[in-house]
């Protein structure tokens, strides 16, 4: 086993010394599946209790893990699911999904000073709206749940699939943003009218304009909401800071998952820089859906060109009973064209890959799986590609 002093070169070595792995990357790159595959490998090879915490799993992924459904509570993936794939894991694999609304409610329950305030917050229409619709609340809640589960110490390794965000770094900033928000001057400004009716709403330019735009009733609703929320100020800020510390902890590492298309690669570069700026640990990059190397084979190109350019001649030479020349010509040309087409994409991807590969300690590639992953065996097969 690798010690923390040796630079790890495989995912197995990297994860042996970590307690939290955060998988990030832009939407549609296969983050959730990769997180589950990595967690399954860890359960098989490293042992201990491994949890994959996911945000919005495909139904198929739940099925692949042998679970009826995901919930906010952690569920153990049955050992029969492993047995079906002919694998005996050293450890246990657990899975849980993030339920944003439930997690917010839990937070309020924990931090509200008394039952009355708690109920007032839970009933406030703005609160309902924020927890249900406020996009960025996902980011914070994901990190908050991670912190909570980690602090409970139940799991040896937690693999987190991050929520889809407008920008991949949003969730990194979420804890700080939450703390800033509760400490902000603006929040105090907004809660003034509710705290002190002596200051007339209309007496200050800020309120006058805000009132014209939004109407004073709405403004007062906002004020009430924030005033209630402020009772939880200390708990929230302390908590948000603790979450920030968890992200920066040396037991935490980040895996950037990306395909080799240009937009996800750009975002990954941006993300790698953001991790470095914050001194968070970039453990590795996983390239997903990578086209096979043989598309770059020099002999392949020559043969493919011959098949395309001289399809007629080849067909005439190769035709025999059951292989009519005209059909054969079409097939040969299609096959040659297809190779040259995919080669263009493979070349573009190779360039993208070399630009990103220099950055982290561990770089792994997952080939383009021809079929969808339908069971734990499929997840393990995917995991095998990146594990060692």
């Amino acid at each position: 086993m690798a010690t923390t002093r040796t630079t790890p070169t495989t995912l197995e070595q990297l994860l042996a010394a970590r307690e939290i792995v955060i998988c990030c990357g832009s939407g549609g790159v296969g983050k959730t599946t990769t997180a589950a595959a990595v967690a399954a490998q860890a359960a098989v090879h490293l042992g201990g209790k491994v949890l994959v915490l996911t945000v919005d799993p495909a139904k198929r992924l739940a099925n692949a893990l042998g679970l009826e459904q995901f919930g906010n509570v952690e569920i153990r993936v049955p050992s029969e699911a492993f047995a079906e794939s002919g694998v005996t894991p050293h450890g246990e694999l657990w899975a849980a999904m993030l339920d944003t609304k439930q997690s917010w409610d839990d937070l309020v329950h924990r931090h509200a000073p008394d039952a009355e305030t708690r109920d007032a917050i839970l009933k406030n229409p703005l609160y309902t709206n924020i927890t249900a619709r406020f996009v960025q609340s996902h980011d914070y809640i994901a990190m908050e749940r991670l912190h909570e589960i980690h602090a409970a110490g139940t799991y040896d390794l937690i693999v987190v699939d991050t929520p889809p965000t407008r920008n991949a770094i949003d969730f990194l900033e979420a804890p700080d943003r939450m703390a800033d928000f509760f400490s902000s001057r603006l929040l105090r400004l907004l809660t003034v009218p509710a705290r002190s009716r002596i200051i007339s709403f209309a007496s200050r330019p800020f309120y006058r304009v805000a009132d014209t735009i939004l109407g004073s009733q709405f403004l007062e609703d906002i004020a009430e909401f924030f005033l209630l929320f402020q009772t939880m100020y200390d708990g929230f800020v302390e908590r948000a800071n603790a979450v920030s510390r968890t992200l920066a902890d040396k037991r935490t590492t980040f895996l950037v998952v990306t395909t080799l298309e240009s937009a996800p690669v750009r975002e990954s570069e941006f993300f790698v820089k953001a991790l470095n700026d914050r001194k968070f640990h970039l453990g590795g990059i996983i390239f997903n859906k990578v086209l096979p190397d043989y598309l770059l084979d020099p002999e392949g190109v020559v043969v493919a060109r011959v098949m395309t350019d001289e399809a007629g001649r080849l067909a005439a030479e190769l035709a025999q009973r059951g292989m009519p020349a005209d059909q054969l010509e079409r097939v040969l040309r299609e096959v040659g064209d297809s190779y040259l087409n995919f080669r263009v994409v493979a070349q573009r991807e190779a360039e993208e890959r070399s630009a990103l590969s220099a950055l982290p300690e561990v770089v792994a590639s997952v080939p383009y799986f021809e079929r969808d992953i339908a069971d734990l065996g499929g997840l393990l097969a995917l995991g095998d590609q990146v594990w060692r």
Partner: protein, 315 residues
């Protein structure tokens, strides 16, 4: 049903990674080429709309990037400033800077406010008839419903005030299927297809906006018909492979393997396409844009997308 490009406001959405911006850019380019004065607006500040036209960074102020084609990036703070200066006509303008950033902060927490500044600006351009068509590279599937439903959300939350007063005409524009339409971009893969089906339902239930079309991007070409596939399988046997190697002057193994991969990928994806077709209203137009085997995603690729869309729309 109104022809897609004869509408005035099109929101293009879809799961991350399916090529939403490529399709929005292609649609806008096609409209401009067909003589419509067109505005294309990116809503999420990722700033890559410019890449699809190989033009400089886009800003809140629209810029003509091709004949009849204008591009802009949404910025809710700027949108608020513009709105206030139009509505209040106050010399307040100078002081608006800090107010706007404070407002932005509130808008982050108060649901619907930021969204309505976005949707409001776009609907405003339509109402004022500044353009024949506004194409919006809108938010991804997770956020689009909140954006399109913002006027209703504001109506529920805000009882009086200027913002509420504005929601009426916005709803008129958004709810008129001759004027406004949503387009979902999908890719022939499992998650994008599932999200498309789910989103189609949510748009119908939770917004007033008409779903105008589903555009499936990156459809792989079909290499062979059935009898050709049998022939291909024969070619891959050792005997015929050796004969082909001799005739072509080199080992064809990797070329044949690549074709096999292409066939399998196409077949897996066809299953997802079938599911999409079976799950959506049969009267809803579904357009297909093939996978582009190109070196980059610049303006040439955008022209290609526009060309395929043109064919699919029957122009």
């Amino acid at each position: 049903m109104t022809d897609l490009l004869d509408r005035r406001l099109i929101f293009v959405t879809g799961k991350g990674g399916v090529g939403k911006t490529a399709v929005a850019s292609g649609l806008a380019l096609l409209a401009a080429e067909r003589g419509k004065r067109t505005l294309v607006c990116e809503v999420d500040a990722k700033g890559n709309l410019a890449d699809f036209f190989e033009t400089g960074p886009t800003t809140f102020a629209p810029r003509e990037i091709a004949t009849g084609l204008f591009a802009m990036s949404m910025n809710t703070e700027e949108s608020l400033k513009e709105y206030l200066s139009l509505q209040l006509k106050l010399p307040l303008l100078a002081k608006i800077g800090p107010l706007a950033s404070a407002f932005d902060f509130v808008a982050n927490a108060a649901p619907g406010v930021k969204e309505i500044l976005t949707v409001g600006k776009l609907a405003f351009e339509v109402r004022e008839e500044n353009y024949d068509l506004v194409v919006v590279d809108a938010s991804a599937t997770g956020h689009i419903v909140g954006q399109l439903a913002a006027p209703q959300a504001i109506n529920e939350l805000v009882q009086v005030g200027m913002v509420r007063d504005q929601t009426g005409w916005m709803l008129d524009i958004l709810g008129d299927p001759d004027v406004t339409g949503a387009v979902i971009v999908a890719a022939p893969e499992e998650m994008p297809v599932n999200e498309t089906i789910e989103l189609a339902g949510r748009i119908a239930e939770e917004t007033v906006v008409d779903l105008a079309a589903v555009i499936v991007n990156r459809v792989l070409p079909e290499l062979f018909g059935r009898s050709e596939e049998e022939l291909f399988d024969k070619l891959r046997t050792d005997r015929h492979r050796a004969r082909l190697a001799e005739a072509a002057g080199g080992d064809p193994s990797v070329v044949l393997d690549a074709a096999e991969l292409a066939v399998t990928l196409r077949r897996t994806r066809a299953g997802h396409l079938d599911k999409l077709r079976d799950s959506l209203d049969p009267s809803l137009p579904q357009l297909y844009v093939p996978y582009l085997f190109q070196r980059s995603h610049g303006v040439r690729a955008t022209h290609e997308v526009a060309r395929f869309l043109s064919e699919e729309l029957g122009y």
